[in-house]
Amino acid sequence: MTFDLDLIISFLPDIVRALGVTILLWIAGSILGIILGFVIAVLRRYGSRTVDLALLAPVELIRGTPFLVQVFLLYYGGPFIGLSLDSITAGLLGLTIYGAAYYSELWRSGFIAIPKGHIEAAQCVGLNRRQTLRRIILPEMTMLLLPSMVNMTILMLKETAILSIISVPELTLAVSALGTKYYAFVEGFAILALVYWALVEACSAMGRYAESRLSKYRFAAT
């Protein structure tokens, strides 16, 4: 068995197409997860105790089970409860729900980390709850949570590989199909590792850039 790069190059258009699906699902899933996670965190914080508990259960369930199992149940189990989704939709939905559970916990930690005094100061100058959330809490949290948000988003990229089990035509599926067909596993998975790593590095670099831009907003010493 040789390390046959020509094989990979000849299938490059297919690989690039699959990479497109991966990136699209990753970005869409992360953005939707961040938004849904925020909604969950806000409901848990400002809603009644019942709402908090009602949302705690699904969040814990998602965090407590492997993504692979969730995706499998959603795609193959969905039809039993009348939820027949094509693989890409199921993949995106699964990724969003999975991400939302983790992102909601990050948002929650952000709410806790903001000094109470900053919110009291907003109250004292007359900002109402919504204005305080939009003008004070959200920007402060963005600054506080950026490193952990980037970290979670990196994990989201790697979780897209799991979607190959429900035959989402993403990168891992495309490359492992090549492997099976031409018995070129090493080449394929080496390329996979490199591509995921490159994407992760790009994402981290963007995060570092944003962090450096935000550094002057850091909390002041008192």
């Binding site: 005094g117 900053h118 004292c124 007359g126 900002l127 402060e140 600054m143 002057k216 909390f219 002041a220």
Partner: protein
């Protein structure tokens, strides 16, 4: 109307669980004067201030601002009726608050901190709000620091920005909660000077402070609290002059090593 005090507190009780922090406080804050609340830690002075700023809700009693009830009105039988939120917001907007920890918003410049409520709450155009904010920053001597973020300012500068932020909304009353307690002695002076100027301009001020020197020289009225009760109240020379109340005597002893004794 001229006789209506700026703040009137009646039989205020505040409990945290089983702990009674304010035990039936009566307080009059006259208009255009500086009233200083002093007392040992845990005496309830900060809690009293926070109740007046509505950051805490008292369990019993009433607060009036310029003769208008704050938060609750008194019914025919002395029962408390909660007032509509709009009314409470209106009364509360006459009060400016300055915190021990400054509490500037870290993602906004000094100018942004001062202009924020003018834009978001008062609906002013950003440009007009910043013009007014700039004037306030000039008043506290920070015009050239307007573009700095809180993390780029010293504690004293941050506190002066916080004072400008409160003043920008044109409050009739300013509350100060230990405004210099988290500052180095060197930076305390610049904040106290701003407060002194403010007092001279005729602002009604209620100041919780450990700066006995400031209280004695700027305060027109001193209120000494201990264990949630008002122990002594009067003009500085009545409270600090001899013969002193026994509890004041003990309290002042703890300040001897802080240089305050020479003032008294």
């Amino acid at each position: 109307m001229t006789d209506t005090p700026a703040i009137k507190v009646e039989k205020l009780v505040k409990r945290f669980g089983k702990n009674t922090v304010l035990d039936g406080i009566d307080l009059i804050v006259p208009r255009g004067q500086v009233t200083c609340l002093i007392g040992p830690s845990g005496s309830g002075k900060s809690t009293l201030l926070r109740c007046i700023a509505l950051l805490e809700e008292a369990n019993e009693g009433f607060i009036e601002i310029d003769g208008e009830p704050l938060g609750f009105s008194s019914g025919d039988f002395g029962e408390r009726n909660r007032l509509p939120a709009a009314q409470t917001r209106k009364v509360r907007s006459r009060i400016g608050m300055v915190f021990q920890q400054f509490n500037l918003w870290p993602h906004m410049t000094a100018l942004g901190n001062v202009a924020e409520a003018l834009v978001t709450v008062r609906g002013m155009a950003r440009k007009d709000a910043e013009e007014r904010a700039m004037a306030q920053l000039s008043n506290v001597g920070l015009r050239e620091r307007a573009g700095h973020y809180p993390s780029e300012l010293s504690g004293g500068q941050q506190q002066r920005v916080a004072i400008a932020r409160a003043l920008a909304l044109d409050p009739g009353i300013m509350l100060f909660d230990e405004p210099t307690s988290s500052l180095d002695p060197e930076l305390t002076g610049e904040v106290l000077n701003v407060m002194r100027d403010l007092a001279q301009s005729g602002m009604t001020m209620l100041v919780v402070t450990h700066e006995i020197g400031f209280a004695a020289s700027v305060g027109s009225k001193i209120v000494f609290l201990d264990h949630g009760k008002k122990i002594v109240e009067g003009k500085p020379d009545e409270v600090f002059g001899k013969p002193r109340h026994e509890r004041i005597e003990q309290f002042l002893d703890t300040y001897l090593d802080r240089g305050a004794a020479t003032l008294l």
